[in-house]
Symmetry: D2
Subunit: 293 residues, 4 copies
Amino acid sequence: MESDNLPLNKKNSAILLIHCPDKKGLVAAISRFLSRNNGNILEIDQHVDKYKKVFFMRVEWDLDGFLIPDSDIGREFTEQIAKPFDMNRQLYFSREKPRMAVFVSRYGHCLHDILARYDSDEWHVEIPLIISNHPDMKEVAGRYGIDYYQFQVTGKNKKEVEAEQIKLLETYQIDVTVLARYMQILSDDFVSRYPGRIINIHHSFLPAFPGARPYHSAFERGVKVIGATSHYVTADLDEGPIIEQDVIHVNHRHDVEDLVRKGRDLEKVVLARAIWHHLQRHTLVYENRTIVF
Amino acid sequence: MESDNLPLNKKNSAILLIHCPDKKGLVAAISRFLSRNNGNILEIDQHVDKYKKVFFMRVEWDLDGFLIPDSDIGREFTEQIAKPFDMNRQLYFSREKPRMAVFVSRYGHCLHDILARYDSDEWHVEIPLIISNHPDMKEVAGRYGIDYYQFQVTGKNKKEVEAEQIKLLETYQIDVTVLARYMQILSDDFVSRYPGRIINIHHSFLPAFPGARPYHSAFERGVKVIGATSHYVTADLDEGPIIEQDVIHVNHRHDVEDLVRKGRDLEKVVLARAIWHHLQRHTLVYENRTIVF
Amino acid sequence: MESDNLPLNKKNSAILLIHCPDKKGLVAAISRFLSRNNGNILEIDQHVDKYKKVFFMRVEWDLDGFLIPDSDIGREFTEQIAKPFDMNRQLYFSREKPRMAVFVSRYGHCLHDILARYDSDEWHVEIPLIISNHPDMKEVAGRYGIDYYQFQVTGKNKKEVEAEQIKLLETYQIDVTVLARYMQILSDDFVSRYPGRIINIHHSFLPAFPGARPYHSAFERGVKVIGATSHYVTADLDEGPIIEQDVIHVNHRHDVEDLVRKGRDLEKVVLARAIWHHLQRHTLVYENRTIVF
Amino acid sequence: MESDNLPLNKKNSAILLIHCPDKKGLVAAISRFLSRNNGNILEIDQHVDKYKKVFFMRVEWDLDGFLIPDSDIGREFTEQIAKPFDMNRQLYFSREKPRMAVFVSRYGHCLHDILARYDSDEWHVEIPLIISNHPDMKEVAGRYGIDYYQFQVTGKNKKEVEAEQIKLLETYQIDVTVLARYMQILSDDFVSRYPGRIINIHHSFLPAFPGARPYHSAFERGVKVIGATSHYVTADLDEGPIIEQDVIHVNHRHDVEDLVRKGRDLEKVVLARAIWHHLQRHTLVYENRTIVF
């Protein structure tokens, strides 16, 4: 066993994310399935929601020497374990490199931060596509050789624009979409196609200050901390399952411009942490909560 | 000059808290008034609300060698400076020991923390009075020799109870009242008697989760931070000017009981910091914001 | 399964803390031992030190319905699991209430904080004994009805004093000793009797500013954060395995008295968190590191 | 008056940074000098080191309508105020755009972060020059159109290399140099040319873990927080006056690679905050401490 903290590409491992009704013997059954097939567990983490009696687990094991061929693991696990325990399971292989699209509007700080991490191979990810409703970030995209599509969104053409965007996500075989301060609201239709696969950054500590202009609202209320929240996008705006939050202290000297400036650093790092957890397959959404193993 | 960070009783100083319409020459006029009268400024701090064009200042100076007798300072300052500049001013002397009442219900952690600080002379304060709607903390009050009054509050007798409480605050010559997890809502009548003189601790990062059971709501929403807020009490519940806020990180493993337990430590320290600032005369309320110098 | 975050007394559970050379099949073997005997795992947490190839685990299970009688669990586990895997194991039962002694000198803030938590049943612990080299805290001990022994420690009588203190720890059947700002250095002899059973709070973020007067050193160095560190005491002063650390921001305005005052709040909460983890059996010391599950 | 929090280029102001022996009447004298000349104070901040009896001040005022021409302000202030009070003073104008050089080695995260802020005009600064002992960041510099000079530093040629670097700093008229994870130690000769004008980021919370490989040392010591420190560079390695520090929590699960990864985000933001304060003329070095107004 060793830590799962390396970017996944540096390992040859498989990851199971599981949830099911809680029951005795779950850990034993799963760990036995792996050990019987000569799987060395790299990381195992479990949680039980005691109110809802639901069991959650993330287990990662070394594929070297594992007796079941990769192509059969899913089927074997489903038959031997998932079905008997009425389990919902996702299976990932560390060698698979997720493909990520970034949606951005005019503020580039989150995009810059994402691309710098991409450039330095901090994450195990491919970023082939940037989509925007503005031209501002086109040059930045160009510097990194990433395709950039700009859509003028109006009240009328939203449906058509989203149809084209969905086609792009398909063409580019996108696994996960990041809204890096994308100031357009996506339709329910769009969102519901990608459950647990669209990550947003909102510039407040939700549920405080949802909606537009949260820094202005924070200033008005005279708060002594401001925050940022990264969450999976659902049909309910700013109500999706939270992945990561953080705050910083402010005081009466900070005007709205200061909050905006200081908040940018928070947004960048909160979004980056959320993306990291998603890419490392640490996250498991259940109803409106995110388990982050 | 030296730092104002000592408890005020360790200095022989005067403090002016000021606000007025912003104008050129304010700092010069005030600092000249002091220097002309041989006042050594210990601490001077100013702020301008650029949106509302209001000037705020806290200035503290050494009374040793100051040429104006203490009893005349207020009048002299008002005539020479406050009136010409249309100023609102409060004057305090460090030798005055504020008298504080604590209202508490059944949770004793904030009260315990306050009394331990009181016992060790951390604050420049007198605590002669504890008021509760429960008997639970009577023994604790007794340990510190503080008078304890218990009132059974019902829907019907609220007015009479508050009348008696107000009489107690008068009898004990209370300057500031702290609601240390007091679970009764005070009437507008009560609150409006003591503007900027009642400090509450609310167990969430307001404006998120106002009202009852914020830890339950925080758990339901799946937040990744929980917080506490200390604010001056106004007629609008949980809407008063914020003095201090802080948060701690939580995760999916923490159930409601954990949030309650972890939150207690936050409540204690956030309330204590707010009380410290109030007692040190660092705070100045303007509309719904607290300047904390 | 449910969370282990409740104070242990609210559960009827057993806890195993384990470390051994890392090997395939460890999780399977342990979880199978429990499930075969009808044990419902409440919490399971593991870690592998990849550099040293050591496996660590904390597992807690419900004793209700467990097929092995309590008195045989240790022996059965040792024979079936611990021996074959060359394991070091500690077994605890949640119903056992640890007995804690507190050593204190003249600063009472940590003691006050501990006693307030004791008074409100926050922890599953008995505190029958306070030992000091000063009389200052005697009255506080009296308020809580705890026996207080004062020893005048000089260069000459240290050995005799420690002998008496050891006798007291035996008489009062103390399981864990907390040095709550105890300003005497314990001898190697004393310390080596209680490995992993003496918890200290040091008022700096170790390894910065070991030894005496860390706040003065922090001020001299002009640091922008100050910290506190709780660690198990070993023969090497301020070098023991760290359980918990935290910091707060300071700036040029804060003089030494401010650092001392602000530091106190940090010391209290860092020590309290360390004690909580120890009492909940979350901690496992290996060489000079503390695993805090 | 209004907040000084805007990047300086958005204002037409002058800034004085002052220190001198503490004395009565300093604030009055300085504020009167400004008000007599029709100067509107935008921000005034003072501090007294009570141990050393030294007075520090930063005052910023609006140049619109100020009666003394810019070119005479320095001379007038020196004659009327600085000389009589034995003052050390620095005068800056907000319209002056500081010119910054960045030294970098192979780790690009701090450089990327600096350039993204530069690109988005977050700071009032010109960055015409990047110097490195490696070729790795050449492409990044090229993307932003910044000149990049690479020097192979060996034991022997250090003196010659530094001579060339100094010539570059002169040619490019550099005001401030940032060591953005530059892994070469600069000679005393080099450093002493630029007092208070070279900013470094060290990847630990100094004074803990100075020198090389602090994350490895932090891991070895088993700390529960890791940190980063930005400081002005002096001849004593890692001993210069600290501008900014921050930490994040870590636990036993984090191996050295994790500390490195998590530390990067800390280094970026701590360095960026230090640069911001320097560029806003918030910093004043006195002996081994940095006043950050």
